[in-house]
């Protein structure tokens, strides 16, 4: 696994909490990721993975706790704030609009505008092609096809390319390989390694430990809204991680009396 180029985390959460009505989705969770590092985020269903990244993305702001970006405390109140910092999230459901073409999707919400309020389609298309090229995504027939006509791997690649196009420093991938076949999973994992080589911080959420052990440098385990452990991927085993996910080395399981 690669050396951590920089020891200050680019993104750091300290004691963040989030409650939905009666459910404590996150309770005083710490989390960090460094530049040039792939940090896996794992946990069973309902462990709080999605809530954590949605908080980082500004979709559901945290109730409590602090967020530091590049060592400075920041407030993220909406998707725009996160994007402005250089945090991009690739969602499980891909967050692509099927009826729009590849270029329109990659620039969605950040279109370049030329004269007379018209979008500068040529510049957008050029940049989209350059970005896809730099990520070695070359299986597309045309960047003017609606994304509905693309394969799962291609769609995932478009979603990742969309995320890295914006000078982003942290890319968060939510279940990037969940719906993909073997060859397409390989493409996506290679893409993750490319991002790391470019010096980006990558957070990857996955249920597939095999994939995680292939690309991750460190592994954060969440259970029932709490962080139970952070493993160095080179110094742990799948069994150890599975144990942390299921039994959890929690001193206290929320809602149960400590025995």
């Amino acid at each position: 696994m690669s050396n951590h180029a920089n020891n200050t985390p680019i993104l750091e959460l300290k004691g963040v909490s989030k409650r939905f009505g009666a459910v404590q989705a996150l309770e005083k969770v710490d989390f960090e990721v460094r530049s040039g590092e792939v940090m896996a985020l794992v946990g069973d269903n309902g462990a709080g993975k999605s809530t954590l990244i949605k908080g980082i993305a500004g979709i559901y702001p945290f109730d409590d706790g602090e967020v530091f970006f590049g060592g400075e405390k920041v407030d993220i109140h909406g998707p725009r704030d996160a994007a402005d910092l250089g945090i991009e999230i690739v969602y499980q459901d891909l967050a692509l609009a099927d009826n729009l073409d590849v270029v329109a999707n990659m620039f969605l919400g950040r279109e370049k505008v030329g004269g007379m309020w018209a979008m500068d389609e040529e510049s957008m298309e050029e940049e989209a092609i350059k970005t896809l090229d730099s990520l070695s995504v070359t299986t597309l027939r045309s960047v003017r096809l609606p994304v509905a006509s693309l394969s799962g791997g291609q769609r995932q690649a478009i979603a990742v390319a969309k995320a890295v196009m914006w000078n982003s420093k942290v890319v968060i991938l939510d279940e990037p390989t969940a719906a993909l076949g073997v060859a397409q999973t390989r493409q996506v994992l290679d893409l993750v390694k490319t991002l790391r080589a470019k010096g980006l911080a990558v957070v990857i959420i996955s249920h597939n430990l095999h994939d995680i052990f292939e690309v991750a440098d460190r592994i954060t385990v969440l259970r029932l809204g709490k962080r139970v452990n952070v493993f160095d991927a080179s110094k742990t085993t799948q069994q150890e991680v599975v144990y942390a996910i299921t039994a959890g080395a929690l001193s206290q399981v929320p809602g149960m009396v400590k025995s």
Partner: protein, 414 residues
């Protein structure tokens, strides 16, 4: 370029190579593939118009005459104007049932401000009526976006409320006469024959200029562009259609002024939908609202603006309809106006399910509907028969929409 690192040496760009070279053959093949996949474009419309022409001409020789053609343009103008605004609502996957009576409210507002004691000049009346209509749209849009009510219910309430407002404003008198010559001229004036040709040539020139300029720009930047043969074919097609329209209209009274108005609406709103960020956001919201929201698009503001556009265009359509009748009465905005205005874009190929459609579908669909209405009028069919036939045409259009949607899903063309 804003990726964090440029590739050290630019590799041979396979994508760029592939997209820059599209031959006319590829283009036609792509078109045929899209059609098979359920994206049929204007083809059903053209076939429909031919069938309609054959049927009605067979029954009544007055159908395909210059006089009736000019009548048709005037008859379809009001519905088309309203339908252009509705295209945006349909693109969102929403509906606006209030446009019929909003058009009537705008018309009543205009007619009452023009007559004494107010005696407003025509331009003030039009601006006032359009602002009033736009305000209605904003209010309805805010109920839909801020209170999260379904657009079906909010605009159904609007339908009743604005119908009531029309009845109260007109009162028991029954009819408000319009006497302003400019307002009456909107739907009753015709261009002198020479001006018909000048406008026609200018429209084709603008279309050709923008098409060719775009093509040239895309060639220079080496991004994907249509083959030049296809571009020239499109320009030629538009030129032929425009020449035929002006020629036939000039055999009768000339090109109706309202025809020019429709052309301006068509061009302006096509630009809005296809070229601006706003238009892109409307398509994005209609395609996947959640992805639009996550991309930071102000979904609520865009939706509210779309309902404003629908009401604004309804107001404009109401003024056109009032101009044609030279008056507004208690029946304004009623009958099957709403149904026709919604049916037009759907018949023209805009999906009721959101995300798919074009502004020109309003014009194409209205052409079909107005042709049927016009033909049935010539045949002297009963009101009952007219309703049944119009209803069946709408059903067929929605059926085609549903089938083509399934085709799109199966062929993965979104």
């Amino acid at each position: 370029m804003s990726t964090t690192q440029e590739p050290v040496s630019e590799p041979q760009n396979a994508l760029l190579e592939a997209t820059a070279r599209t031959s006319p053959g590829d283009y036609v093949r792509n078109y045929l593939q899209r059609m098979k996949g359920g994206d049929m474009g204007a083809l059903p419309i053209i076939i429909g118009l031919i069938v309609i022409a054959i049927i009605f001409q067979g029954q009544n020789e007055h159908f395909l005459t210059p006089r009736n053609f000019v009548n048709l343009i005037v008859q379809m103008a009001g519905i088309t104007t309203i339908a252009i605004g509705l295209v945006f609502v349909l693109l969102l996957g929403e509906i606006d049932l209030s446009v019929g009576y909003v058009s009537a409210v705008a018309a009543v507002f205009l007619a009452m401000r023009l007559r004494p004691p107010d005696g407003w000049p025509w331009y003030a009346g039009i601006i006032g009526a359009l602002l009033f209509a736009a305000a209605i749209g904003i209010v309805q849009g805010l109920f839909i976006t801020k209170a999260r009510l379904p657009s079906f219910i909010v605009t159904l309430a609007g339908l009743l409320v604005w119908n009531g407002v029309v009845l109260i404003l007109i009162g028991t008198g029954g009819t408000v006469i319009i006497q302003d010559p400019v307002i009456i001229g909107i739907a009753n004036a015709f261009l002198p024959h020479v001006w018909g040709w000048i406008v026609g040539v200018a429209a084709v020139a603008i279309f050709a200029y923008s098409k060719l300029r775009r093509w040239k720009r895309r060639q220079k930047r080496q991004v994907s562009s249509e083959p030049i043969a296809i571009v020239i074919f499109q320009i030629a097609l538009v030129a032929v259609i425009m020449a035929a329209v002006v020629y036939v209209a000039n055999l009768d009274r000339g090109v109706p002024f309202v025809g020019v108005l429709l052309l301006i609406f068509l061009a302006a709103f096509t630009y809005l939908a296809d070229r601006t960020k706003f238009g892109r956001y409307v398509y994005a919201i209609g395609g996947n609202t959640e992805s639009a929201r996550r991309a930071g698009i102000p979904v609520d503001r865009i939706k509210t603006l779309v309902f404003m556009i629908a009401s604004l265009m309804a107001g404009a359509g109401g003024i056109v309809l009032a101009s044609r009748l030279r008056s507004v009465d208690t029946a304004a905005g009623g009958g099957n106006l709403l149904l026709m205005a919604i049916a037009a874009p759907v018949i023209g190929g805009t999906s009721l399910f959101g995300g798919h459609g074009r502004v020109i579908s309003a014009l194409l669909g209205a052409l079909i509907i107005a042709s049927i209405e016009n033909g049935m009028g010539l045949l002297g069919l009963s009101a009952g028969a007219k309703f049944i036939i119009t209803g069946l045409v709408l059903l067929v259009a929605v059926l085609v929409d549903a089938i083509s949607r399934r085709g799109r899903e199966q062929s993965g063309l979104g």
